[in-house]
Amino acid sequence: MKGKNFEIISIAQDTGGVKDAGPWITAAKAEFTALIDDKHIVTQLYNMVNVPTAVWINERGRIVRPNEVGYVDNRYKAMHGVDAGPYLEAIRDWAANGERSPFLMSEAELKERMKPPSPDRAMADVEFALAEYLYKNGKGPDAIPHFKEAQRLAPDNWNYKRQAWALSDAERDYGTSFMKEVQKLSGKPYYEPRKLPEVKKQN
């Protein structure tokens, strides 16, 4: 799908930077642009709460579909239950038809879906950033209370939970693990369900 007019930019949300994200990028033999965000800048700027999160941006730099679960294959489907198929179809349609694609959202819909960060989320962003700074400066144990505060302020933010857990022994320091937290959802979807419009196939 990579062509003159279509670009995929993948962005790793990894405090460990190249050390953690690099091997995956190399293994994927990525033909798309693969960037590394070791300060979770994009998570903050776009008010994201999970990975993978995808955003569609048009030629003029405007968002035409905001944050939504961004699986483009079914590798982990057994775990999260999100089928990538319809999404890939939608992306192909957009790549081919641009402004005429039925998958683009109206301005009203976009404004309804995109909200400014709540004051709690804004506070969580600084607690997380402070924790990350302390961690990177060799103060891992001192970072933990700030990671915990970020998680308390933004309880729906899986990026802030999973990244912090990955930087230490989650069971020891946080009394939990990703698997345990997913089990706690007891069937409630881990990702907010994607809302793609029904589109009739044109043959």
Binding site: I9, L45, Y133, N159, Q163
Partner: protein, 166 residues
Amino acid sequence: MLKSLVCIAIASLLTAATSYAAEQGRKVVIYDGVATEVTASSEPSNDFWVTLKDLKRATRFVVKPQGICRDELCFPIPKGKKTEFLSKKGSVTWFNLSEFARLVKQPVAPDEKNRVWYFGKREDERGTHLASLEAPNFTLPDMSGRTHSLSDYRGKKVLLVTWASW
């Protein structure tokens, strides 16, 4: 002999005192994502006071007659509140960065133990793209360290996808 020992003892005490002061007298401000070491006020206060020199160095804000300004941007000091923002001690004028943060609704996270203060985005800087729907720009490196900005891709459709190794 005794005299030189006393001298050494005094000298080492002085060195210890100086390094103690240096340790106690410095704080780290992180502003716009950039860490700067500044001189800390010795006044007992939960607020974070900086010298005007450090204010400019750490935040690029300066105090002008019209308010607290950076380039074209100016936040007037509310009427009658000047003493809450500025305090002159001898020849040095101190500025209350915490009070300024409250004025512009800027979240602040301190770590007292490590003497680090993280200042986040002002309210007017958050969600700025919501009215225009313009995708917020960022500049990030690839594996080889070469930086890319989202704005480099104008003229193309961009599918932005985040992921993580964890």
